[in-house]
Structure formats: C-alpha cells, structure tokens
Symmetry: D3
Subunit: 117 residues, 6 copies
Amino acid sequence: MPSYDDIRRVRESDWVNNFWKVLAHDPKTMRRTWESVKEVMAPGALAPLVKEMIYVAVSATNNCDYCIASHTAAARAKGMTDAMLGELMAVVGMANETNRLATGYRIPVDPEFEPKN
Amino acid sequence: MPSYDDIRRVRESDWVNNFWKVLAHDPKTMRRTWESVKEVMAPGALAPLVKEMIYVAVSATNNCDYCIASHTAAARAKGMTDAMLGELMAVVGMANETNRLATGYRIPVDPEFEPKN
Amino acid sequence: MPSYDDIRRVRESDWVNNFWKVLAHDPKTMRRTWESVKEVMAPGALAPLVKEMIYVAVSATNNCDYCIASHTAAARAKGMTDAMLGELMAVVGMANETNRLATGYRIPVDPEFEPKN
Amino acid sequence: MPSYDDIRRVRESDWVNNFWKVLAHDPKTMRRTWESVKEVMAPGALAPLVKEMIYVAVSATNNCDYCIASHTAAARAKGMTDAMLGELMAVVGMANETNRLATGYRIPVDPEFEPKN
Amino acid sequence: MPSYDDIRRVRESDWVNNFWKVLAHDPKTMRRTWESVKEVMAPGALAPLVKEMIYVAVSATNNCDYCIASHTAAARAKGMTDAMLGELMAVVGMANETNRLATGYRIPVDPEFEPKN
Amino acid sequence: MPSYDDIRRVRESDWVNNFWKVLAHDPKTMRRTWESVKEVMAPGALAPLVKEMIYVAVSATNNCDYCIASHTAAARAKGMTDAMLGELMAVVGMANETNRLATGYRIPVDPEFEPKN
C-alpha cells in the first residue's frame, strides 16, 4: 500500500504502529487520514513539538488512551522534557477546570473579546 | 478584594473581565483559582504563548465559548498570528478526528508506547 | 396530552417550560422522558435537592446551557443557597481538573479501589 | 426478574450480557432502561440497523468502550458490513473534526439554517 | 478560490454557508477539509441521508450548535421527516444515557463482544 | 515531601494512592492540587458525602475510570449505600440523556430561567 511506504519514508523507520495497521483495512480512510496528518503536523508557523503537545492536550481532554500514549511518545521523541510535560498537564487540568466554571456559571463573553469589524 | 488588586497588578490594567467578576461572588474559589492560574500560566519550561494556545485547544475541544473567546484574545495579545491560529485549529480538528477513530476501532496501545521501567 | 396534565399536576403549576413544549412534538419520547424523569428525580435514598445538584454538575460538564439554567433554577427552588452553589461549582471544576490529570498521565487504578469478590 | 425473561424473549437467546447483569442490582433502573431501550430501538421511521449505527457513533464520540463493543456487535448481527463500518467511522471522525473547527472559530449559525416560523 | 467554485458546483447552488466562509481564511485547511468532507459524505455503502443523520448524532453529543443546525438542515433536504428526526434524537438520548451507566458502573466488556481471531 | 505527610495526616492513613504518587513527580502541581482538593472537599455548605457523589457524577460523565473507581470508593467510605449509588447513577444517566435532547433540538432557554436583575 502506497501510504505504508510513505509512512516508513517520512518517519525513517520500518515500524508501523497499530493505528495505521487498523486503518489499513479501509484504504480510503487510511490514505486520507495519513495525507491530512502529514499536512497538519508539518513544520509551519508552529513548531512540530508545539503541535504534538497540542495533540496530547486534546487527547487528554477527550480521554483517548491510545492517542495520549502515542502522541506523548512522539512529543518526547521531539524533545519534550519531564518539566514540559508537567506544565502541559497543569495547563490542561486548569483549562478543564475553568472551562466548567465559565460554563456552569453561564458567564457572558465580554464585548472586549468579540472580534472587531 | 486582594485578588482583584493582584489581577490588576499582574496584568498591568484596570480592566477586569467577566470571569473574575462572577467568581468574585465566591471569594474562596476566586482566590484559589486566581492563584492557581497565575502559577500555571507563568513562564517556565513552556513559553506563555504556547500555554495560551494549549488553553485554546482544550477550550475548543470542550466547547467553552467564553474560554475560546478570552484565551484566543490572550494568545493574540502574546503574539499569535493568523497563521499560528490556523495551524492550531487544524491540529485541534485533526486530533479530535483521530481520537474518535482510535477509540471507535478500539485500537490497542502498542507496547512500544508503554513507559519502560 | 396526558403528560402535560401530569406535569402540571406534579409541579402544581400551569406553566410548562420549553423543554416539554418541544418534546411534545414527539409524544412517545415526551411520555417516556417524563415518566423516566419523574421516577428518577423522586425522593428516595437521595434527597431531591441532592439529585438536582447532581443534574447541574452533569449539565455543566456536558456544557448544556438549557439544562444548567433550568436545573439551577430547580435546585434554588428546592433550597440551594449561594454558598451551596459555590461549593457545587468548586467541586465540578476540581473534578474536571483531576479527571484530566488522571487520564493524561494514564494513572493505573490501585488494586485497593477494585471491587472485592 | 421479569425484565430478564423479557430480554431473553425479545432477543430469542438465553444469553444476557454484562450490562443487564450489572443493572439487575438496581431493579428500578433495570426495568426503566430495558423498557426505554426496547421502545427506542424498535423498527419505526428508521431501520434497526441505522439505529444501531447511530448508537455506535454516539458511543465512539463519548468514548464508551463497553458500548462501542456491544453495539458494533449488534450492528454486525443486523447486517453491517466492513464497508459500512468503515464509512460510519469515517463520518464520525469527520464530524468530530468539523465540530471543533466550527466551535473553535466561533462560527455564527447562518440565518438560512434557523427554523422558519 | 478553487474550493469555493467546487462547493458551488457540487451543491448546485451559489450560496456558501458561514463554515466555508470562515475556513476560507486558511486556504490549506479549507481545501483539505472540503476534499475530505466530499469524499466522506459521498454515496457509498451508506446512503447520504444516513451519513447526515450520523453527523447530527455526533454534533448533538458534542454540543456543536452550528453543526446541529447545518446538518439537520442538510438531512431534511435529503428527505429526513419529523418522525425520523424524533427517532434519531431518541436514539442519541438513549445512547448518551446508557454510555454513562456502562462507564459509571465500570462494566467489563463481555468476551462474546471481543473480536475473534 | 510535605504534601505526602499532609495527605497521610488528613486521611489518618499511611497509604497513598497512585494519583498522588504520579503527581509527586511534579511537586508544584502536587502541592497546588492537594491544597485545592483539601479546600474544595472540606465540609461546608455541602456535606462531604454529597461532594464525593458530585465528583463521581462528573467522573462518570467524563469517562475517567481512575476517578470513578477512587471517588466511588471514597463515597462508600463516607456512607454511600448501594441504594444511593443506584440513584446517583440513575440521575447521571438521565441528565446525560436530557442534556443531549435539549442540545440536539436547540431548545431556547425560557426567560423564566434567566437571572433577574
């Protein structure tokens, strides 16, 4: 399958993780997802490590165990230290707490935060 | 209220947004939340802008409109460009998609991703 | 519609809120939901006020604005004070924070917490 | 327990899965839940297989592993093929992605989508 | 922008809704999302109307107001009747309820539901 | 570590569960989280058992297995009976169901539920 070869080429490794092995049963979703992930996670205005940490933050909030495990590993491979992981998790925890306070108290958005036209 | 004065001092502004005005009705939660946010969002192993973008990512995933509005504004004030916001949202969207694929297909975590002892 | 009359009878009020007015377009779901809510929210091992506060906690976590508004009003009508609401929200916020820390760090359940057989 | 006998009768099988075995410890919730599920999942304007696939879609989005496993099995028993499962998961993934984009960018609902009166 | 023209062509309409107007500020995400949605929502093993109803089910579970409004309108345009919408919402509600019961009681997956090898 | 000693003192037990053992790798988050949990869960306008049940309700809704296990155990230690657990779970299930109905049907908040000024 062309996507498999491309995964190996981009990652410079022969190993393919379970996510892609399972998706491979549906070649259309496999191809589309791989091409999309490759585009989205490429270096750009944000550094690849920042992107991986955002991925971990979303995955922790959604409680996706597979994704937490795989993207934490990917972030470490890209240089995330224990101190960075600690701060990442602290922000994720705090954001989840204040999200629910703002929602539970039905706090109206300040006009100052609305986009200007 | 001491927290109010501290908010103004740290932010170098007299303006206080609705979130803190509402919390002020419960001084204990106000004080604890402000002290916690101040500690968590301080510069450390991660830059303040990266922390704000992680806050936006969690808030978008949790669908907290107030928090998306306020932390997007805070991230812009710390230097987030349109290009950075676009990539942030692209990662958030992609992470939410693959989170559900990994969960929906019940994909087992690869042993390679488990912590070594 | 029999459910409407029963809502008015149980609540001792002629007023019917939008939730039931909208459900009334689907009489089967209306009847089933009303009968279920009536059974679940009846006094039992837990006091009705405790049940309403649990309803608010779930609604804040799920970000259901309609449900937060209506069940906060119902809890107040049953005696919830400002101090009780403040503590309810504080617990909801804290639980959401530690939920994500436990999930994000992939913390294994202690054997002591597993049910004994 | 009457619900147990009814589960066996409706399903034409002696086997009862863990969900109902656990609920059986609370006969009131057991009876109410079984009667509700039986009513909701019965053939109607939507085919039973479509209902099962909607159940899987919600369960994947909520990350309920038990429900994903049991309702995917039920959908297969009602005729869901590998190709249908692949498309179901692709839609679930895509919806989760665009849900967060629409939320994260705070996109206002077009008047054209609002109900006419 | 080529995606705009393609949206108009595929939908046989000059009108473009806010979702795409906002995404258009990030042409890369615009193009990738449009191509992905077009592939995922195309007729296949599942009928387009079934796909739209799955989209609504996910959006209601995620509480994405924009997506509920737009995909309910799209489902109606593809033939969803009031009776079908009523059953769709009934299944979504029931699934959300039993998802939390299965999770809250920590019910183990029956071996019968595990995939055979 | 001072927090460890305080956990043992407050709980009158030498045993420390995995949550705190893992957080201990990040002393700042450990200290802040422990002090916050201690403040939030202390007896006040709400009884400690009610607070634990609210914690379980949030954890079940968020699908945090660790938190469901640990806070269900804590609630039992504070006097939660099987009947109370059954009613707690019934309310959690029902709230999740009606949350999605209210959201999915986009039901507007009645003016009667809005706060008076």
